[in-house]
């Protein structure tokens, strides 16, 4: 273990000696998250269909028509579910919003003229702040469309409220994001993972081309120690980088941390995952250039498909499905789960378990390739 720690500390020292390398691991993630935090805080706008979970307890012609009006806009993709399922899906970040049409919706429809319109309940994922206004507008529009149907054409009801929308706090049982930095904070962790994986992924090939790997292999140490040392360096780098970013985001940008233990669990899982991926990337390249290229290609693909760059909601459904293979998606979800989504331990287990599994599997494959190619 002493040898593994010595190799890890040496690799970290080499990283810190390389100013540009350490900037991409630690500085760049902070800059990206702060930059996009300010952008998100200042504007919104979403053009792709948002996934809307609909629980129609009324199940009348009026309620069905109301939902149909929503789908006509093309801006939402309706998924019918039970009330409980609809709420939990949004809470887990798998849909933008839920709409609950309570029993009596149709019966109360005429109440709009007496200032007592039918009530619907809406819950919107706080991380989809940009889409919230658009959804409320669409709901009102669908309500007016219902009026037009009743009166067979034009309406002067613009001053009336067709439906009373009770916008529920999705984070009823949790804190919820206070600002845009709550959303960009996980993005900073994504960039930290990318920077770490690429920085340490290339280090084995660097050792090989510089001849230091030969000296290590000539030493009376287990070959696996070399790989384990690099994985440990990556782990320490990820954890320490995540800790520093968290301190900055919490203290400077008022980022919400709902559960420190869960955030720590997310970081540890992400660090294990990244360490495994580092081992795999490290043994794939034959030159520093190829290892670096492979590292960036793999990590950028993971980031893009996992929603690390473009929000998942803006992607076609097949890409959203594809995103499930990306550990970045699970890293973002886990960090959000611990910070503002208010996940339960059971809910944390899925993203964290997937990340740990990917890390362990990548590490095993990488070590096997190392033994085959280097020994």
């Amino acid at each position: 273990m002493r040898v593994i720690i010595a190799i890890a500390l040496k690799d970290l020292k080499l990283l810190f000696q390389d100013k540009s390398g350490s900037f991409f691991v630690f500085g760049f993630p902070l800059l990206m998250a702060v930059f996009f935090g300010f952008i998100f805080a200042g504007g919104d706008g979403e053009v792709n269909p948002m996934k809307l979970m609909v629980a129609d307890a009324d199940s009348t012609t009026a309620s069905i028509e109301f939902v149909e009006q929503l789908t006509k806009s093309g801006a939402v993709r309706v998924v019918v579910a039970s009330e409980e399922k609809a709420m939990s899906t949004v809470r887990r970040g798998k849909a933008t919003a839920y709409l609950i049409i309570p029993e009596g919706f149709a019966a109360n429809k005429m109440g709009m003229f007496s200032g007592n319109p039918p009530e619907i309940m809406v819950g919107i994922d706080p991380s989809r702040k940009a889409e919230a206004g658009m959804l409320i507008g669409m709901l009102q529009k669908a309500g007016f469309a219902g009026l037009q149907g009743m009166f067979g054409g034009g309406s002067s009801g613009k001053s009336m409220t067709p439906v009373a929308i009770d916008v529920q706090d999705v984070s009823v049982n949790r804190t919820g994001p206070k600002n845009a930095f709550d959303i960009t904070f996980p993005q900073s962790i994504v960039w930290l993972l990318i920077g770490t994986a690429t920085a340490f992924g290339v280090s084995l090939v660097t050792e090989k081309t510089r001849g230091t790997l030969f000296r290590l292999q000539a030493a009376p140490i287990k070959p696996g120690s070399i790989i384990a040392g690099k994985a440990l360096a990556s782990f320490i780098s990820t954890i320490s980088g995540a800790a520093v970013l968290t301190l900055i985001f919490v203290n400077v940008f008022n980022v919400t941390i709902n559960s420190w233990p869960f955030v720590a669990l997310a970081f540890i899982s992400a660090a294990i995952c990244t360490s495994g991926v580092v081992v795999l990337i490290a043994v794939m390249g034959k030159t520093e250039a190829s290892a670096g290229g492979i590292g960036w290609a793999v990590m950028l693909f993971m980031a893009m498909t996992g929603g690390g760059m473009v929000p998942l909601i803006a992607m076609p459904s097949w890409m959203q499905t594809l995103g499930s293979v990306s550990f970045i998606k699970w890293a973002v979800l886990a960090v959000e789960g611990g910070s503002w989504r208010g996940f339960s331990l059971a809910e944390m287990m899925l993203p964290c378990g997937i990340m740990i599994s990917i890390g362990v599997l990548s590490g095993i494959i990488g070590t096997a390739v190392f033994r085959k190619n280097y020994l």
């Binding site: 020292k13 080499l14 000696q17 390389d18 001849g211 030969f214 292999q217 030493a219 009376p220």
Partner: protein
């Protein structure tokens, strides 16, 4: 004792070492000479167990060099500088010392000794990147000595260094011999082998062409000593069997301006054995 028994090794279809057998005795400096691509570095890698021979057996004191306890007794200074340029000399040696199980006071003592031995104590806190080629070579050697190994494998340790650093390295190696270390020294510089080595093996295309002391090799494979006389501003080699008589005759004729002798040396042996064709 290092023992190569009928070793063969190929990189794919390229035969790098071909049925090589040699023995290096405790306390001697054994020079492995050969042109570029002769198989010297591959032999070193086989000797430390970094490569596994396709055929034959490599043994160090009767054991495989792949065993950690055997490697603990080996020090290697590879041909390519195997140091971390971003780290200080001190940082490099502390790290490599830990790879050989050193720690605490023992590590500090050995690092201090190694820095002193290669005359880098005053630059120990400078990064290796700021060192000259000679200083890097000395640091490369120091890293091989930290754990006080019984046997050293020095693969072209003076490549690309200035005469001062080369001389310093020679003195280091001579001191290591006085300490009783067994040294395998690869080079293609004949004067280095002549100065340092007790025995020499000449290798080419993976085959051991000859081995022995320098005197033995010169006697067996070198040309005769040659004598050149300058007569009327023209230098000519004396070809008779009795050089002294021929010189005396030229002197008495008043033709001899001066003469010089050229002793048979290792370089002649080397060229006789490996040929004069350029190697790239």
């Amino acid at each position: 004792m290092l023992n190569f028994k009928n070793i063969s090794f190929s990189y794919g279809s390229n035969l790098a070492v071909d049925q090589l057998s040699l023995q290096v005795n405790p306390g001697e400096i054994y020079g492995l000479l050969g042109p570029n691509g002769a198989g010297k570095s591959t032999s070193v890698m086989l000797a430390i167990g970094f490569l596994t021979p396709d055929n034959g057996v490599v043994e160090i004191n009767g054991q495989s060099p792949a065993k950690p306890e055997v490697r603990q007794q080996l020090g290697v200074a590879p041909q390519s500088l195997s140091i971390y340029e971003e780290l200080t000399a001190l940082g490099n040696l502390q790290f490599f010392g830990k790879m050989y199980g050193l720690s605490g006071n023992k590590l500090s003592e050995r690092v201090e000794w190694a820095l002193e031995f290669v005359s880098l104590s005053d630059r120990c806190k400078d990064t290796a990147a700021s060192f000259s080629g000679g200083m890097k070579r000395r640091l490369n050697l120091a890293a091989a000595l930290l754990h006080d190994p019984d046997m050293l494998l020095l693969d072209e340790p003076t490549a690309g260094v200035d005469p001062q650093s080369r001389n310093s390295l020679f003195e280091n190696i001579e001191e290591l011999k006085r300490q009783g270390k067994t040294i395998i020294y690869t080079t293609h510089y004949m004067e280095e082998a002549e100065r340092l080595c007790d025995r020499v093996g000449i290798i080419d295309k993976g085959k051991l062409l000859a081995q022995g002391t320098i005197q033995e090799l010169v006697k067996e494979h070198g040309a005769e000593d040659r004598v050149f006389a300058t007569v009327g501003n023209t230098e000519q080699e004396l070809t008779s069997e009795n050089h002294i008589a021929e010189l005396a005759q030229l002197q008495s004729d008043g033709q001899l301006e001066h003469f010089r002798t050229e002793r048979a040396n290792l370089e002649q042996v080397f060229l006789n054995l490996t040929g004069r064709k350029l190697r790239d």
